[in-house]
Structures are given as C-alpha cells and as structure tokens.
Subunit: 278 residues, 3 copies
C-alpha cells in the first residue's frame, strides 16, 4: 500500500474501500438539481458506479422526488431564478429527510449572481459537502479569487488552508479539487495526489466529482470518508482512463468504463493519500 | 431464422425488416419535446438510423415545426409548466397533421406531477405509441407501482398483461421495455427477448427506445410492426454493442456505431421474438 | 502544400497555421448562449482546442460573465423568450467590450420564430461571423429556402454567391458550411473542400463549427482568417476522425481526440482551399 499513513489508520483505508462496494449494494437514488451542460455525464457516472440518478427540477415535484432519494446534489452551473427556487426547495426537503446534500457552487466568484446564489444555498440549506475548486471556495469566503468564467485561475492558493477554513466557516465537509485535492471536515484533512491533467480537458469533471460525493455520502455517514473516497475514486479512474484514451474524447469514454469496473480494494491500493489532524 | 413464429407469419418478419430500410430511404423528420438530460443522445440516435431530429420546445414555434415533421416524441423526463404547454400544443398539431405521436411518460408514478402530466397528454393528445417501463405503465393504469426516481423497481410485474390492458385502456399501441420487452396493440402481443443488461448502465436508453419508435412509426403505419421493430432494433444493437464495449462508456459509443450499420435483414435474423394473438 | 494559391498568398496560410497555436497559448474564454442539445459537445470542443467554455444564460449574469470573455457565441438552436433576451444582453455586452460575436441562426427558415429571432440579433448586435448552412443564410436574405427542421434541404444553392451577398448585406463575415464550405468577408472568398459526410451523422457539428469560429476569432482579428481556419480545422479533424471511427459513435469520440492534437502546420498542409478576391 502506497500510503503515507500510520499503521493504526488502516481503519480509515478500510472505510474508504467499503464505500464503492456499498454503493453497488444499496443502489442509492441521487437527486440532481444541476446544469444542462453536464447533466448527461452526471447521470451516466451515477449508473456507472451503481447508483441511480434522477434530475427533476420543477418546483411542482422536487420535494416529492427528493423524499424518494438517498442524497441530493445542488449544482449551480447554469443558474436561473426558477432553478434557485427549486434548489432551495429540494435542499430543505433533503434536510427534512436527513439526506446528505452536496453543493457545487460552479463559477462562484465569476459573477456576483453566482456568488450570491451559492451563499444563499449555504445559508438556507444544511450542506453536508461543499465540492468546489479553490477559486470558488475562496470567493465564498470573501477573498478576491481570480476566476476565468467557471474555471479558477491556476494561481497559487493554499488550498489546504482554504479547505479547513471553509469547513469551519460553513460547518460542513469541504472537498477542493485541483492538481492536488483537499478534503476537510474541520478536524481532519485528506490530501489526495491522484488525478490526471486530462480531467481539465473534459467539461464537467468537477460536476462528476460532486455527484460522486453525493452517491458516496448516500452510503457513508462520515462525510470526510465519503468525500475522500469520491475524490480518490475519480483521481484513480482518471489515471487509468488516461492509459486507454488517446485524447479527451476517448479519455472521457474510458472514464465511464473504469468507473464501472473499479472496486474498493483497487481504489485504496492506488490511492496516494495523506490524512492529517488539523 | 431463430423465430418462434408460424410459417404464415413470415410476412410480419418481412414487414419488420423493411422498417429500418424505409427510414434510411425517407429520412423522416422526428420532432422531440424532450428532456435536457438525453436530448443529445436522442438526436444522435435519429441521425445514426437515418432520420432527422429537431428539438424545438418554445410555444412560439412548436406548431409550425411539427407541421414539417413526420413523427413526434413527447418525453416527460424533465417536466415543467412551459414544457407541458408546448407538449400539448405539439401533440395537437401532430394530430391535426395525422402524424404518429409517441409518449414517453418518464417517471410516471415517481411523483404525482409526473403521473398527472402523462395522463393529461393521454387525454388531450391522440397517442400512437406509449413507450414506458412496467412501473410507469402500471402507475398510469392506477396501480401502486413502486418506482425509484425514474426507474421502475425490479419487482415482478406481469408486463405482458400490462401491455395488453394499457393498449385497450388508452387506445394505443403500448411498448413496455425491461429485461423482456412487450408490445401490444390490443389485438396482438410481441414478446422480445433481445437486449443487454448494459442498457441499464447508460442513461436515457428508454428515451432512445421511444425516439426509435417515433422514427419507425414515421415510415410504418402499423404501429405494432413499427414498435416491435424499434424495440427489437435497440435490443439487437445492444447485444452487438456489448461485444465491442468494455464498460458503459464504450458500450454507449458502440450503440451509435451499430445503430448506423444494422440493416433490416440482420435485424430480423437476430430477433428472438414471439408474436401472439391476444 | 496541396493549395490552389498563388505563391504570394503563403502569408494567408501562415496566418491560418498560427490560429490554433494562439488559441492554445492564450486560452480564450468563450461565452456560449446556446441550446441544451449540443452544449456539452460545444464545451468539450473548446477544452479540446485549448479554449475555456462558459455557458451562463441568465439575464442576471450574462453581462458580467461576458465582460470576462474573449469571444461570444449566440446559438439559437432551442430558442425561447428568456434565451433571446439573454442573447441580446450578452451580444450588447460583447459589443461594448469589443469582443467578436459569432451568430449561429440554427433553423432560420424552418419556423418564422427562428427567422425573426436571427434577424433581431443581426439588427441589435454587431455580429462578427455569421456561421450557418445555405438554407439558413438564404432564409435570412429573404429567399424561400427549403428547410427540413434545422437541416437545409440538399438542393442546389450557389453557396459561394450566398456567402458574398450575405457578408455585404449583414456587414459581417459569413461562414457557410456544407459539403463544401464558403467563407466571405465581402472582399475575399475562401472555398474549403475538406470535411467528411459522417459530420452529418453527429448532431451539433454545425454548432461546433460556430464555437470554433468564436475561439479562433478570440485570437485572430481578421475574421476571414479566423473563420477559414475554424472551418478548415473542423474539416481536417473530421477527415482524420473518419479514419479512426467505425460509425457515428466512435467518429464523434475521435473528433475530440483529433481536435486536441491537430496542430497549425498539420492543419494547413491538409487543407484543400481556394481563396479568391470577390
């Protein structure tokens, strides 16, 4: 095991390994309030790992649909007034049913509307996991984080510190993706070195990370474990897909093939992970 | 020919074989009122089999656009008030122009809104083919059909009886997909054993079945023939795609490759089909 | 070099070769107001060539988002009143920031609503490049151009003359795609013989052409050069993808792989191009 972990933390690894297995066994229904650009890929990712997606967005049905689900993703990739109203309704319904809610504040910082929308969700809905890039998290914390559209600038940011600060400020687990991924629940910090640069050449891979966090949180109540497993999973999947793909088209195809086949043991034996108390 | 059919029913087979050939020859325009999750795949399926897709949804143009089409799909996968209004307008326009209309009541039974929407379409628009899974059809008939989001529970249901009953209740051809597919027009029942479990790992394959029903109904007035050919076509395509794919990503890619190349004779020689009078 | 160009026009070729290189270097942000059918492919095309996509459509943020961008695409594939309002706002914001705007009037001529919407954009927004098929351009010029949904009929049209006339009427560069592509700015006419019939079997390849025009116009102020490079790029990409693909599914996957790898020199050495003064 290529893991920078003390012996006694093997229980953490075992917990990580069990998550994808539990998804396949329990087949959680993951409700998505998401954007129209990546909805198809998000749904296919859910099916690939053994979960079930549902994408209802009308205020006429989101509460009822959420009541059947085991987790909720609120992805603000193409926000509108209607979608925001549905997102709040869905979030409150998820809270009422004690479902984990993952927030993906796509492009927070790029426009005031996006920042405001994300902060509104954080205020009105109890979020379990905030999954974002460093620029988005920085924006939500009030920093001037340079964004280019929905992509964070590749400037240096101390993402580890951001993850810890945000987890304490917002009272939730924070999963920051980038070249290195950071997950913190305010008590521990996971640092994940898996991944592949080709993930930046396929649209919506951040959204896939958020959907995986939700599917994994549906079966694992420790959200640090669930989110670490989800980001690690996508990182390992990307590394393997990159061996098969000859460019972003075939890489993307391979992502779904590998998501389907990657097991829990394979996952943890491929992880390059550090876990620290913070 | 691996078909459980009496000799004199070879005319049925020949009719099935002619359908994909006629699609390629006539290039029917298939109007879609559909959801944003699978719209891209549905359009690509139409192009792969030689039809032309169009996806207009605004009330400002659906009537005029439908007047140019040879078939209409109404897919209720992501319903909203605006989409419902457009769906009814498009349906009435299709009826006025005597075009076949295929209804896909995605998730009927999962929320009251979806059940109500589907029943509204069945009431206000003359439907040619209702394409759904057993849970959705059961819900529309007033049964308590357990649904998980937009997926039917894998509980036992007598889908053959459901298809016949629904075809008589709604006065249309009913095409129920599942591990085995059932198509009935109230007089005959087709039972199709083709297909592959990987279809359940790609989102929107039910929607593809509905779009194929519409493309095939555009060129074949006997809707039992058209729908049997469409579901059989997707089943055979899936079996061949599964030989090429190594997971849901490459399986999905192969689906479109095989749809493009599968001919009418290849289709019927690969069908595992029974046809009964009912 | 297989080019029908006088020696002294090698500067034109060199300009073409530089365009994809400059995209990779400058990573332009390309704002899309586009349809939900092809948004995912358009975003992936941008990432494949080294640009960044953003797809905001709410009137609450389009002006601010456009202010961060280097180019704008207005694609009218699934028009609605809200989308039209956002398109006009985005277009005016792009004009105020002197960004190139590409208009894709999908299905102009198919319905009066589409024709009217496209003419409204041409009237209220300064368009840099109009990218369309011959039927759409003809409709905007007031000709009765037979359309089938969003596809032009394959009737004979003198696309070269259409391109020149439209560029003068609308005061912009006009890029007409079809079996042969034509680009004119009213002074010159590029005729491009690259491409592959499989492009007609994948939905949204016209939309991809428009997005490429925008990404290329973001880094090249001569819009005849930018648009000729964009259409030539897609044509050469399609020819190479067709060698890899076994049908529309794998062809589409290969499109993104080749977009990612095709360089400027490879582009111009594969072009089959004529450039004329008009």
């Amino acid at each position: 095991l290529n893991l920078h972990l003390p012996e006694h933390e093997n229980s953490f690894l075992q917990a990580l390994a069990r998550v994808p297995v539990k998804v396949k066994k329990r087949v959680p229904l993951v409700h998505h309030i998401t954007n129209y650009v990546v909805a198809n890929d998000s749904a296919n990712a859910m099916l690939a790992v053994g979960a079930l997606p549902v994408m209802a967005i009308s205020g006429k049905e989101v509460e009822e649909m959420v009541s059947h689900a085991q987790a909720l993703v609120i992805n603000l990739g193409t926000p509108s007034e209607d979608l925001m109203a549905s997102a709040v309704m869905a979030g409150k319904s998820a809270n009422a049913h004690s479902l984990p809610v993952v927030l993906d504040p796509v492009g927070a910082g790029a426009t005031q509307y996006r920042t405001k929308n994300a902060l509104r969700i954080l205020r009105e809905v109890k979020i379990g996991v905030l999954r974002a890039n460093p620029g988005e998290v920085g924006s939500l914390l009030g920093y001037r984080s340079p964004m280019r559209g929905v992509e964070a600038e590749r400037t240096h940011t101390d993402s580890a510190a951001l993850a810890v600060q945000a987890s304490r400020s917002f009272g939730c687990t924070v999963a920051i993706t980038g070249q290195t991924d950071y997950v913190s629940d305010g008590h521990k910090l996971s640092i994940l070195y898996n991944g592949h640069h080709m993930l930046t050449r396929v649209t919506g891979t951040g959204c896939l990370a958020s959907s995986l966090c939700a599917a994994f949180a549906a079966v694992e109540t420790d959200l640090l474990v669930a989110s670490t497993a989800a980001l690690g999973f996508l990182g390992v999947v990307a590394e393997r897909a990159a061996l098969k793909g000859k460019g972003p088209g075939s890489f993307r195809t391979a992502l779904f093939d590998v998501m389907y086949s990657l097991g829990g043991v394979e996952l943890v034996t491929s992880l390059r992970l550090e876990v620290k108390k913070v």
